[in-house]
């Protein structure tokens, strides 16, 4: 079974600064997918970024990028130029294959301060 661990229950950052959220996972699979989801108070889960394990290049989406270390089973999210709208709960998630369940971490509550 897969497990996902987010060791930072809460984090805060000043507007316009950079913050990194940590995630580690445990799996015996060699091919899989990793995700960061954002959940604002509206409860809507929003996909922020995804990474295929077979790709060595780290994924980037505008201000969001990941540091994927496959050997270390680490998948951190970096948010650059933080904005007030980034305030939300962030979940790291693992997907073994297409069509299987997502396994989520416990989440990190990020607060961006003005």
């Amino acid at each position: 079974a897969q497990t996902v661990t987010q060791s930072q229950p809460e984090m805060s950052v000043q507007e316009a600064e950079t913050v990194t959220l940590s995630c580690t996972y445990d799996t015996s699979e060699s091919n899989y997918y990793l995700f960061w989801y954002k959940q604002p108070p509206s409860r809507q889960m929003i996909l922020v970024i995804r990474q295929e394990a077979y790709k060595q290049q780290n994924a980037t989406e505008n201000r969001f990028s990941v540091n994927f270390q496959k050997a270390a089973k680490s998948f951190s999210l970096k948010i650059s130029d933080s904005q007030l709208g980034d305030t939300a709960m962030y979940f790291c998630a693992f997907l073994k294959t297409s069509g299987s369940r997502l396994t989520f971490g416990e989440g990190t509550q990020l607060t961006v301060n003005p």
Partner: protein, 114 residues
């Protein structure tokens, strides 16, 4: 196009009553998932439907929980004889399946058992 919709948005019920939660997936999505999110926690997998295949019910916490899906359309999650520990947000997600593995989430139903 329309996203995943869920109803009701909020449900308050008395302990011991049965409840039904509804999910309308994105049209054409063959895969449908139910997750449960307890307060301040990550999402737990409940059940997965893929086309006409037998559903993966391995995440259902007890026999009080059941779900149905008609073809590739609406799904209902039923909780019988509700208990206070059933209080949570119930999230539904759908995906196209195959090589398109991204899961799209609905806004969830907040269930409160008094």
């Amino acid at each position: 196009g329309a996203g995943v919709s869920q109803s009701p948005s909020n449900k308050v019920t008395e302990k011991g009553k049965d409840v039904e939660l509804r999910c309308d997936p994105i049209s054409g999505h063959t895969a449908l998932y139910w997750y449960r999110q307890r307060l301040g926690q990550g999402l737990e997998f409940l059940i997965y439907f893929q086309g006409n295949s037998a559903p993966d019910k391995s995440g259902l916490p007890s026999d009080r929980f059941s779900a149905e899906r008609t073809g590739e359309s609406v799904s209902t999650l039923t909780i019988q004889r509700t208990q206070q520990e059933d209080s949570a947000v119930y999230l539904c997600a759908s995906s196209l399946g195959g090589i398109d593995y991204e899961q799209y989430f609905g806004p969830g139903t907040r269930l409160t058992v008094t």
